[in-house]
Every structure is written in structure tokens, then in C-alpha cells.
């Protein structure tokens, strides 16, 4: 044992060094990410001193620390980069696309060297002369300026001399807040350098360069900055994961204790258990928060990707972001990184047109890519939209038919929305020319699978020629989820609450009648709709519990676009469960998403609802069946409680549309109606809005116009359509049971609302019928 002692000490010393290098690597990589981001921002806002300083600082730090650690290559590359940047600061060079590309190439080669250092500890022998050459070419174009004064800028150059902890200097704060002139600060610093012992602020005040209050404010700002930087610490993710696991176990132990309280009557024990319960819940929330990261962390890498891509295919794309601060669990952030990148690539490569085409189509030459994220109902919504070409649905349909994914007859029956969802089918791409970026027909199906794997959903809307919108909904966290515990065949199973729609229990007599059989497939009539049933015992090949069941328990679940009923022996309770992955030996079993430990310490399996549905063939692999069967009512559950706008058309037609589709209710004088291309239109909010007379569209006898037209404005994608009705009746908020009718045309079906039979208008279908189908995207 003894001989190993010195070796240990040696490795400890190495560990200490490793720590420094590790920190350097982390900081440098972060710096380079910021560099990319800020440089691309600077391309748009070429005069921003702030961005330029930030870029400069990133390179300068790498050069400085890299030099201390003896990484010569890093130093030589970043030194040249710094020279280029300092000429930009001097105003000798102005950022042009070639310079930006050269600087980005520099960042890439720095990254490459950092990777080498991370893996081997050495800089590696990759050839960095091309990058050096490019940078020196840039430098050659702009000779250095003669005067030192301008070269060094203000005597306290913000980038070169931040305080050691990164807080800005006093002079810097004063200049940026326009409290005093740069020249005065410079003069004061020169005095200091010449031996004046007074602090900078005092000199400035004495010289009457700045008001004392200004210095006080600046000092306060500086202190605040100090506080901010000392308020955060870097923590190893591994440690956070460990803490998270421990909290997970604490939650389990808490659940066990709580189960115990049921049989105890000792009041002090009960109150202690209660306190334990509360503290655990709060601790769990707190720890979850430490794992939350703003989605901006992933987004920040996207502008760079977009820039590279758009330069590569001669396009101009502007990226806009909204809600970058929206927070998500780290594991989810990681899981969506690749799908997001893929969607962005797709949008730039296929969606956005070249500037010439865009101008010819009357769009601005710069394509717009919009990223939005926001929280809603315990989920995070991410929307990615572009104003490009949109998806050519006819082409998509033809391709799917050609590939034998759907039949021609089936294709003819498909709604626009169903066709759009074909983009998620494997092996389908509408692009004739496969580029090296995307369009190989793999991709969108992988995007969908990856998002569904983390319990999310993805939906696409597109208007041909106008653009595409992808909506992603994902849960906030994966580690601890609410779940319904059911039992079948003596085993317990957990079902994630997100998939749960409702519970149905059929007692005794009723149970026999309500479940019917269609050629071996069991169905249940749920409020008039047929719900396919899946028996958990049968699917899992486990024997049912002893004793004839008196009742049937149906758990209605949502799998993708489809609902199905899962028949289980018993429904136990809902519980917060800690999701644990299954070992790789069990990966071949499709219907389990993981396992968890129940209050009594036993293991229960977590059902993978989508996997189970696929196994039971409720959701066919292509999903086309479910899409076709569901028709235009989409994923919206038509039975759900919703607000409806009731109106009258003709003399007695009662109709309703979901209030969510109504953008405004307006009254227009008849005289304002004009005609264009054989259609009635009206000028509305600086747009020409087409009008549709619903009475005529549905063959009701026209009645004489009153002076004022009642118009329901329906908007989608920034364009509006006015639906002329005869009278607005009411707005009701109720659960509506939709009766579907054959060949309903522009009707979704009928329902009884306020004791009257009411037709439910299907606006997208109506607009298609009226050849306003470019407006169809929002349904």
C-alpha cells in the first residue's frame, strides 16, 4: 500500500491543475458562444460599442488565460483575432460579412483546440494556418492607426481593464451613463498614473468634471454589480443530479411515511409527518428550480447556425426571439436541442426563399424566423414560425401516394391539416433536390419521435406561399411527475397524468351492455363517440385478478391524436412519482417508459401510453388512420367545455362557432361594401377583407339587408375574413356534445345549445369551399 502514497499526492496536484484547466475550458466555451451570438448581433447593429466590447473581451480572456496556461496556438490565433477587433474598435475596420466569417472561423478553430485540450490535454497538431492567414488578410486591408490615443481609446478601456471580478470600472460607468466626458476621465487617470493618490471619483469631482451625486450613483452601481457576481456560484451538474436523486428518494420516503399516518393516531407523529410533507414539497420545488435553465441557452446557438446556413444557400434570414427567458428542466433542454436545430435547418433550407424570389413575391428580401416560448398550463410552448414558402400540401400528398403511404382515394378525403401532418411520416420529403443540409426524408419524423419521447407534442400549420408554424408543447420537467396508479393482474402500473383524459366506471349490469364488440375489437360508447378499448391484462399477457369483476374501469387516454380506453382491474390513486429509467436489458419492451418506487417500497412500472397504443394498434404507425378518422376536428376534444358564439343566419338558422376563433365582432354600414374579383370585400384596418354571407353559403333565403351588417371577423396569419351573419345571439360557455353528420360540408356537426338544435360551423372548411383556402391554416 505504501508505495502508492506519493503517486496519490501527485495525482492530487494534477487534479488541482485539472480544475484550473477545466474552469478555463468551461469559461472559454461560454465566452465563444457569447462571441458567436454577439458577433451576429453586431452584424445587424454595426455601431454597437457594447457588443464590440463583449466580443473583444471574450477573445482577450482566452488569449490571457491561454497564455498563462501555455497554450501557444490559442494565443497566436486569439492574438490575431484581437488585432482585427481592436481595429474595429478604432473605427478603422467596419464589420463586413467576410470579416464576420473570418472571425467566426477563428472562433471555430479556437473551439476545436479547446476540444483537443479537453480530450487529450494537448492543443493537438491540427493546422491552424488557414485561419491565421485569413485573419492577417483582413488585417492587411486596414493599417493600424498612428495615434496611440485613439488606438487605446479611453484610458480605462472597458474591455481591456475590467476589475478582476468582472465589475465595470467607475470611469466606465460614468461615461456610459453620460455623467462625464471620456476626456475628463482620461485626464484624471493620467493624474493618477503621475502619482496623484486621490481616488478617481474624487479627482473628477475636484476637477468639476462630474457632480458628486453622479459619482455616488456610479459607485452604487458598481457595488451592485459586485453583489451580483458574488451571489452566484458555479455548481457541477453531476452534483445537482445527485441532489435531485436524493430528493427523489426523500419524496419516496415521505410517501411511505404518509401512508403510515393512516394507521396511526399519535397526534404529535401526525403533525411531524405533516411538517415533513410540507418541507419535502418545498425542497423538491427548490431543487427542481436549480435544474431549470432558460431556453435562451439553446436558442443562443441558433443565430450562428442560421447565419452559416443562409450564407451557404444565398438567403437572408433574420432571427427573432421572444421569451428566451422561459425556463425548462435541464434534461428537457438537452432533449429539445437537436429537434430544434433540425426544425431551424429545415426552415432556412426549405422554408425561406432566396431574396430574388421573395422580392418577386412581394415580401421583404430578408426572411423572418421567429422563435417564441411561453409557459401555459404547466407546459412549455415553443413556436417556430417562418414567413417562407410554406408546405406545398398537394405535392406532399402526391408524394405520400407515390410512396404508397396512403391510397389515392384516402388522399382525396384528407383534410389540409391531415395532409400537413404527413411531414412527420418517415421517409417523406417534398424537396426534389436533396441538399447537403436537409431534405433526405429523415428528420421531421425523428423530430416528432424525440419530442414525444419526452412527453411532448408537435403540430404543424402552414399556408402555401406564406410560411410555416410549428408548435411544440413539452412538460416542464421529467424527473418527478404526477401519475395515476392502476392495478391489473395483481401488479400496479403508473400512468403519467399528462396522457390522462378521464376515468369511466361501469357498474354491474351496465358494464355488460355498454361495451360492444366489432369483429373482435371492443369499443365503448362515450357520449355518442366510439372509444376503442384496450385491455391491459391482454396486452401485457398477464392473468387477471381472481374473482369476476363486478365493474369495468376504463381509463381514457390520449395517445398522439387519438383517444382510447384502457381497461384495468382497479384504479388506485394519483401520486407524485419519481421516474427512474429502465436498464438497457429492458429497452426492447415498448410499453414501459420507466419504473418508480411506490409508497410501500415496491417497484411499479410506468406505462408508455404511446407505446402501448402502438402495440395495441390503436395508433397505426403512420398515424394516417387516426388522422383520417378524426377529420377536421383535429386534436381538439369536441366535447370539451368551450365558449361558443351563437348567431342567427337567414331567418331561423342557428349556428355557433368556438369563440376562440373569433377575432372581433364588427358592424359595417352596407354602403362600405365594395366588390373585387367577383366577391364582396370591405376595407378593414388597412387591409382588404373578403366577406362571406353565411346565409347564402348555407342556402338560407336571403333577407333584406338592414343598414348595418353584423360581421364576425376571423383572422389567421395576419389576414382576416368577415363572416356576415344576421344577428349575434349570445355567448355561451358550456360542454357541447357534438353529433357528427355525414357530408356536413362546412359544418362540424350539430349540437344542442340552450335547448335549441344548433349547427356548428367549421370555418376552415367554409373558407376552402369559398376558395379562400389560403386562409385555412388556423383551425
Amino acid at each position: 500500500m505504501d508505495p502508492s502514497q506519493p503517486a496519490n499526492q501527485l495525482t492530487n496536484a494534477m487534479d488541482g491543475m485539472d480544475e484550473v484547466i477545466k474552469e478555463f475550458l468551461v469559461e472559454s466555451n461560454e465566452g465563444l458562444d457569447r462571441f458567436d451570438h454577439d458577433l451576429i448581433a453586431l452584424e445587424k447593429d454595426k455601431t454597437s460599442r457594447e457588443l464590440l466590447d463583449s466580443i473583444f473581451r471574450a477573445v482577450h480572456t482566452i488569449k490571457g488565460t491561454g497564455g498563462v496556461l501555455g497554450y501557444d496556438k490559442l494565443v497566436s490565433i486569439s492574438h490575431l483575432g484581437e488585432s482585427v477587433l481592436s481595429r474595429m474598435r478604432d473605427g478603422v475596420l467596419l464589420l463586413s460579412p467576410p470579416i464576420a466569417t473570418a472571425l467566426l472561423a477563428m472562433a471555430d478553430s479556437l473551439r476545436h483546440i479547446l476540444e483537443q485540450i479537453a480530450s487529450s490535454g494537448q492543443e493537438g497538431d491540427s493546422d491552424c494556418s488557414p485561419v491565421l492567414q485569413r485573419l492577417s488578410d483582413v488585417l492587411k486591408e486596414a493599417p493600424p492607426t498612428a495615434g496611440k490615443a485613439t488606438a487605446e481609446g479611453v484610458s480605462a478601456p472597458p474591455a481591456e481593464a475590467p476589475d478582476s471580478d468582472g465589475a465595470p470600472r467607475l470611469g466606465e460607468i460614468l461615461i456610459t451613463s453620460e455623467q462625464c466626458k471620456a476626456g475628463d476621465v482620461q485626464a484624471a487617470v493620467q493624474l493618477q498614473e503621475a502619482g496623484d493618490p486621490r481616488p478617481l471619483g474624487e479627482i473628477l469631482v475636484d476637477n468639476r468634471a462630474v457632480a458628486p451625486a453622479g459619482v455616488a450613483d456610479a459607485l452604487k452601481a458598481q457595488i451592485e454589480h459586485h453583489d451580483l457576481s458574488s451571489n452566484t456560484i458555479r455548481v457541477d451538474v453531476g452534483l445537482l443530479d445527485k441532489v435531485m436523486n436524493l430528493v427523489g428518494e426523500l419524496v419516496l420516503a415521505r410517501n411511505q411515511v404518509l401512508q403510515f399516518t393512516g394507521t396511526q393516531e399519535d397526534s404529535s407523529f401526525l403533525s411531524t409527518a405533516q411538517r415533513l410533507n410540507l418541507i419535502t414539497t418545498e425542497l423538491q420545488e427548490g431543487v427542481m428550480k436549480t435544474r431549470m435553465q432558460p431556453i435562451g441557452n439553446v436558442w443562443n446557438k441558433l443565430p450562428r447556425i442560421v447565419r452559416d446556413l443562409s450564407v451557404g444557400c444565398g438567403k437572408r434570414v433574420e432571427v427573432q426571439m421572444e421569451g428566451a427567458e422561459t425556463e425548462l428542466d435541464k434534461t428537457i433542454i438537452e432533449a429539445i436541442k437537436d429537434p430544434l436545430t433540425h426544425i431551424i435547418r429545415n426552415a432556412v433550407d426549405h422554408g425561406i426563399e432566396t431574396p430574388e424570389v421573395r422580392v418577386a413575391r412581394g415580401k421583404s428580401p430578408d426572411g423572418r424566423l421567429m422563435l417564441r416560448a411561453f409557459h401555459e398550463g404547466g407546459q412549455v410552448n415553443i413556436e417556430i414560425s417562418d414567413d417562407g414558402d410554406g408546405i406545398a400540401t398537394e405535392k406532399l400528398k402526391a408524394k405520400a401516394i407515390a410512396k404508397g403511404m396512403i391510397t389515392a382515394e384516402h388522399g382525396a378525403r384528407m383534410s389540409e391539416r391531415e395532409v400537413l401532418n404527413l411531414v412527420f411520416a418517415a421517409g417523406l420529403s417534398t424537396v426534389e433536390q436533396v441538399s447537403n443540409i436537409s431534405g433526405r426524408g429523415v428528420g421531421m419524423d425523428v423530430v416528432k419521435t424525440n419530442i414525444e419521447k419526452i412527453g411532448g407534442t408537435v403540430d404543424v400549420q402552414s399556408t402555401s406561399g406564406k410560411g410555416t408554424l410549428l408548435k411544440i408543447k413539452i412538460p416542464l420537467t421529467l424527473a418527478i411527475i404526477p401519475a395515476l396508479v392502476v392495478s391489473s393482474g395483481g401488479e400496479r402500473f403508473a400512468i403519467p397524468q399528462v396522457s390522462l383524459v378521464e376515468l369511466v366506471r361501469c357498474e354491474g349490469e351496465q358494464a355488460g351492455h355498454s361495451i360492444e364488440d366489432i369483429q373482435g375489437a371492443s369499443v365503448y360508447r362515450l357520449r355518442g363517440n366510439l372509444l376503442p378499448l384496450v385491455y391491459l391484462n391482454r396486452e401485457l399477457q398477464i392473468s387477471p385478478a381472481q374473482g369476476a369483476a363486478q365493474s369495468v374501469n376504463i381509463v381514457v387516454l390520449q395517445a398522439g391524436d387519438r383517444q382510447f380506453g384502457l381497461v384495468v382491474d382497479d384504479i388506485n390513486d394519483t401520486e407524485e412519482i419519481v421516474v427512474k429509467p429502465l436498464s438497457k436489458q429492458l429497452k426492447s419492451v415498448p410499453c414501459f417508459a420507466g419504473a418508480t418506487i411506490m409508497g410501500d417500497g415496491r417497484v411499479a412500472l410506468i406505462l408508455d401510453v404511446l407505446g402501448l397504443a402502438q402495440m395495441a394498434k390503436v395508433v397505426s404507425e403512420l398515424r394516417e388512420k387516426s388522422l383520417a378518422d378524426h377529420g377536421a376536428k383535429s386534436t381538439d376534444n369536441p366535447d370539451a367545455r368551450e365558449s361558443w358564439l351563437l348567431f342567427r343566419i337567414g331567418t331561423e338558422g342557428r349556428m355557433a362557432i368556438p369563440l376562440s376563433l373569433v377575432s372581433r365582432l364588427e358592424e359595417f354600414p352596407v354602403s362600405q361594401v365594395e366588390r373585387s374579383t367577383g366577391r364582396e370585400v370591405i376595407q378593414y384596418r388597412e387591409q382588404i377583407m373578403p366577406l362571406v354571407r353565411l346565409a347564402q353559403a348555407f342556402g338560407h333565403a336571403a333577407i333584406a339587408d338592414s343598414e348595418l351588417l353584423q360581421v364576425i371577423v376571423y383572422s389567421s396569419h395576419g389576414r382576416s375574413v368577415g363572416l356576415i351573419v344576421n344577428e349575434i345571439l349570445d355567448i355561451v360557455d358550456q360542454r357541447v356534445a357534438v353529433q357528427h353528420i355525414q357530408d356536413a360540408g362546412a359544418l362540424q356537426g350539430t349540437a344542442v345549445i340552450q335547448q335549441h338544435v344548433t349547427d356548428l360551423l367549421d370555418v376552415p372548411a367554409l373558407l376552402a369551399q369559398q376558395h379562400l383556402s389560403s386562409e385555412r391554416a388556423v383551425a
Binding site: 401488479e491 399477457q541 429502465l582 436498464s583 436489458q585 429492458l586 426492447s588 419492451v589 418508480t596 417497484v603
Partner: protein
Amino acid sequence: MNMERQLCTFFLEGLFFGVEVEKVQEVIRYQEMTRVPLSPAVIAGLINLRGQIVTAIDLRHQLGLSARKSEELPMNVVIRRDDGPISLLVDEIGDVVEVDEQSFEHPPDTLDGQRREFIRGVYKLKQQLLLLLDTEKAMSVVGTRPA
């Protein structure tokens, strides 16, 4: 050179097996198990090892031995692995035995095929033969034979 290694030993249907001590995380008595429907038959189920969920592999099934009688409760030999521990179900636990590398021999050719691939070799102890289990093989699961 006289190489010695320590083996954690156990019994399966009268056969004497050994696994390198370093690979064994712990040995525990019978744990309640949750069956995994539709899983390959060699997977006996999942156990709760102090909050960690561990897959248990029925070694008798894996080695093609006869099934254990239902009243006989197996013991768990928990094997350490990078991606989480795996438990091997055995009949009975033996001592930790020190073996001499010189007594090692490759498995005899006469050993029947299926069993042979799970055994790396044989230590000739005084009283009996000790079979060295190939843990990686023992923990591998091929196919998805429904239980």
C-alpha cells in the same frame, strides 16, 4: 509469479460458481420483485435496492438450468456496472475464496454449448471445481422471448 485473486462464490443447482470480488457491489437476501410483462424470459423482475431500481436476471434460466421451485427464494448477487447495477439471482451464497491463477484452466471442450459461453474457465480447488462466470455474458439479454 504467484497471482492470487478473490472470488465471491455462489451455488446454482449444485454447481459452484465464482465472480471477481471487485465486480460485486453487494450480496443481499431475497427481495420482493416486480415482474416486467413482455420482457425477455431471463429477466426475473425489478427490485428496489435502497431507492434504486435494479433489474434482476434469473441466472438459472440464463444458464439453461432447471427452474427454481417456487418455495425456494433466490439470493441477489448485485454486480457493479457503469450504467447502474444488475442483480443476478442465485440459489445460495458461498464464501469469498482466494484462488491461485496456476490452478486455472479454460473450460473443457466437453462442457455443453449453451453453458460454455457463460463460463470463462475453471479453478481446480482441492474439494471441487469452481466455475468462473463471465458476468458480461450473464447480464446480456438477447431476443425478446415473451415470458
